[in-house]
């Protein structure tokens, strides 16, 4: 192959190559910032940066004004302007197609746009969204011509690459966009292929059939020279249904937390570099309280707490079902089996049930089944966008779809923080994190790391973003 060509082996085939689905990580990796660009861009370690917008300001009242670049055109030759952005947003929120990005980031509020001139646009949200510029970093812009009620099959974007072809089951091909507004990338042609088996992906980089294999399993990351670990923004935790006895007792929940030897997982079942979590979002998130110490492994304390609770009439030996999702992350089964035995060690009566995702969903999202008794659901949460607002609401708000918590106090804290911005917001989130941690609302476990195998001829270091996007323009050859 040509030395400027690159092959990426992905773990999953793309269902569609639709920019509005780019919030789904496998699609995002191909589309985001390669084919389609976003309005703003979250750069790890640096914060929110301009991309298609040059600057933005809060007009108050829930309105944000965005100034767009005026030197950008789509790969089909049409110019990019405010109309395209307005159309992109309508597409996301109209409901004529249901998009991942829309459903994930643009639910729960009203959004209207007003075009001031070709390169200036006002976006108003009710209720106000202080983090709208951040949300705009998830919006992959499509041209005005993109159908509103149908998915795109041949995406057209402003990005450094042009979509060439998708041979189903075989590959996707991109090539450098000669008319790109920014710098020309080093990689001229990119091919994406799909292999579900991690060992095969790793082998492909080894044999030179591929250059990058994001997302290989811990077991396969055996070569220090080529295999990079990076925090992948996923946090593993056990969601506790706080409503059912004995899990409605704080002491019992704390005992669960104390029962776990979290350290023991790291470097064994889970990769070195995995962090122990004290919050549901990665430490880089706004308001994450870095001073919180993880619950130490203290089986005696756990037993003591249980004893106390028992003395108060809490039925601590009720059977608790731990529900796991098969294949959720590498070694999920081992992790849960280990947890189970740790719980049992301190006197809990925990049974483990693994379900495939379709069924697991029934336990994870409301309405929760009522006939199952006390439950803990293992889940993995991904929030790479730097603000905990959605995580907080969905995972801990009383109305949150996956929340096992009904706590008026916490609801208030979340509402307050959501409406604020800047440092106040940060402080308020910090409080919420701490409150959740101290009341042991759930069993927070780990911030995970992912592994990417990168061919030795490449100059590329994966980051936390690599989970959701893989900017080809950042890759160069040695």
């Amino acid at each position: 192959a040509n030395p400027s060509d690159l092959t990426v082996v992905l773990s999953e085939e793309l269902d569609v190559v639709e920019p509005c689905m780019a919030a789904r990580s496998n699609i995002g990796r191909v589309v985001l910032q390669n084919i389609s660009e976003t309005v703003t861009e979250m750069v790890p370690g640096e914060g929110l940066k301009p991309r298609l917008a040059t600057q933005w300001e809060d007009q108050g009242n829930g309105t944000w004004r965005f100034h767009l670049r005026n030197d950008v055109s789509f790969s089909d030759g049409t110019r990019f302007d405010a109309k395209d952005l307005a159309h992109t947003l309508t597409r996301l929120t109209s409901g004529k197609i249901v998009c991942e990005t829309g459903a994930k980031y643009f639910g729960g509020f009203e959004l209207t746009t007003q075009i001031l001139d070709d390169y200036t646009i006002d976006i108003k949200t009710v209720p106000a969204q202080p983090i709208l510029p951040l949300l705009m970093s998830t919006v992959a812009v499509v041209p005005n011509e993109a159908p509103e009620d149908k998915f795109i099959t041949k995406p057209v974007g402003t990005g450094p690459y042009v979509f060439d072809e998708y041979a189903r089951g075989q590959h996707i091909k991109l090539s450098a966009n000669p008319n790109y507004w920014g710098e020309q990338p080093a990689v001229k042609k990119a091919t994406y292929v799909f292999r579900s088996d991690s060992a095969v992906r790793a082998a492909m980089v080894q044999t030179g059939e591929a250059d990058i294999a994001p997302n290989i399993a811990l077991q396969d990351a055996t070569n220090d020279k080529t295999d990079f670990s990076y925090p992948n923004s996923e946090t593993v935790y056990l969601r506790i249904n706080n409503g059912t006895a004995p899990l409605n007792d704080t002491r019992v929940r704390q005992a669960l937390n104390y029962a776990i030897d979290r350290e023991a997982f790291i470097g064994t079942i889970l990769a070195d570099g995995t962090l122990i979590a004290t919050g549901i979002t990665p430490p880089s998130t706004l308001g994450y309280d870095k001073d919180l110490k993880p619950y130490p492994y203290d089986p005696d304390k756990a037993r003591a707490l249980l004893k106390q609770a028992k003395a108060d009439g809490v039925k601590v030996d009720t059977e608790i079902t731990m529900i796991g999702r098969t294949g959720n992350f590498g070694n999920v089964l081992e992790t849960l089996e280990a947890l189970q035995s740790m719980f049992q060690e301190v006197g809990f009566n925990v049974t483990l049930q693994m379900y495939e995702v379709g069924e697991w969903n029934n336990f994870f999202s409301k309405p929760f089944p009522t006939d199952k008794g006390p439950m803990m659901v293992q889940a993995q949460h991904d929030n790479a966008n730097g603000d905990p607002v959605f995580s907080m609401f969905f995972k801990y708000g009383s109305d949150g779809l996956q929340s096992g918590v009904t706590d008026a106090k916490l609801d208030k804290m979340i509402a307050k923080a959501t409406a604020e911005s800047g440092e106040t917001r940060e402080a308020l989130w910090g409080e919420a994190f701490r409150y959740i941690y101290e009341d042991a609302k759930d069993v927070l476990l780990f911030h995970m790391v992912g592994f990417t195998r990168v061919g030795e001829n490449l100059d590329f270091v994966p980051t936390i973003k690599t989970n959701n996007e893989l900017q080809l323009s950042q890759i160069s050859f040695k």
């Binding site: 639910g107 089951g169 088996d197 379709g358 969905f394 996956q402």
Partner: protein, 304 residues
């Protein structure tokens, strides 16, 4: 004969219909695709929107009504995941599977017949022992083992063939070789067993008395008499391949119908599941019909 054929066609059509109805209703018992399709933290409204959009809120009988009317017009529906016509999605995958299955089965049947027959010719002999041992190990070894070991040895280690994928002829070698092993092991055993009986028959004595070469005695006289179970088992194996060789497709990144079917089932993409089942079922029905015809050709005493 024509009459038999018509009846058969009618019966097959009816069973296909039954299959569709069965799968349609049963698969819908396995839950709603909404949660799987939308992000975990999607709002209730977008969930509702999604259901509305894909008609998942209608009573199930009505959904079936819609589906059936569309089907009668040759419309197999849209894949939710792919947002493409379900039939196109399936046919694309199926053509790969069909090629893979056909090549593999041709190789399997020819090789198994030769090895099994020769093993039966000298029961307990050295060749028999070796063939039996290897065919049994092959028939019971987990296929992903073989696949991964094969990749490690032949691709990574020796660099003879690519690890996976579809581009060239070389890409086909490993998947076919790995797919080959299990049915081969099974069929060798069936051939062997059935050939032992056939070789003990009086007509084999006649052939010997005629001075026929051993080769012809085995492959002409005994084999044809031993073929009924062989063909049947081969048919079963072929059906399994047509239904998709999931492991192989997964490991070698082969875009076949097996992986598609699994993904669609796991993701509750019902239209694709139904279309895939109809396509494979049709193929299997046709294959079984052919097998029945082959029975009658092989053994003139069999008449339907």
């Amino acid at each position: 004969m024509k009459h038999v054929f018509l009846k058969r066609a009618l019966g097959s059509a009816l069973s296909l219909l039954g299959l569709v109805v069965l799968v349609f209703f049963l698969s819908r018992l396995t839950g709603d695709p909404t949660a799987l399709y939308l992000p975990i933290d999607a709002s209730m409204e977008s969930r509702e929107q999604f259901r509305e959009l894909h008609g998942l809120n209608d009573p199930i009988l009505m959904q079936f009504g819609h589906y059936a009317t569309d089907l009668l017009q040759g419309d197999f529906g849209e894949s939710i995941r792919r947002s493409a016509p379900a039939l196109d999605v399936v046919l694309e995958a199926f053509s790969w599977t069909l090629q893979l299955a056909a090549i593999t089965m041709v190789l399997v049947i020819s090789a198994a017949i030769i090895v099994g027959s020769l093993a039966a010719f000298h029961v307990g002999g050295l060749f028999d022992r070796i063939a039996t041992f290897f065919s049994l190990v092959g028939a019971s070894a987990p296929d992903f083992w073989i696949a991964i070991v094969a990749i490690v040895v032949f691709s990574v280690g020796l660099g003879w063939v690519p690890t996976s994928g579809t581009g060239s002829i070389l890409h086909w070698i490993l998947p076919i070789a790995v797919l080959f092993i299990r049915p081969f092991g099974l069929i060798v055993q069936v051939v062997r067993g059935s050939m032992i009986s056939a070789l003990g028959s009086a007509y084999v004595k006649t052939a010997k008395a005629k001075g026929i070469k051993n080769r012809s005695i085995i492959f002409v006289h005994a084999l044809r008499n031993a073929m009924l179970p062989v063909i049947t088992v081969a048919g079963d194996q072929a059906a399994a391949l047509l239904n998709g060789a999931v492991v192989i497709e997964t490991i070698f990144g082969f875009p076949g119908v097996g992986k598609l079917m699994i993904d669609s089932i796991m993701q509750r993409d019902f239209t694709v599941v139904l279309a895939a089942i109809m396509v494979t079922a049709l193929a299997i029905f046709i294959m079984n019909l052919l097998i029945d015809i082959v029975y009658a050709i092989l053994d003139p005493r069999i008449r339907y």
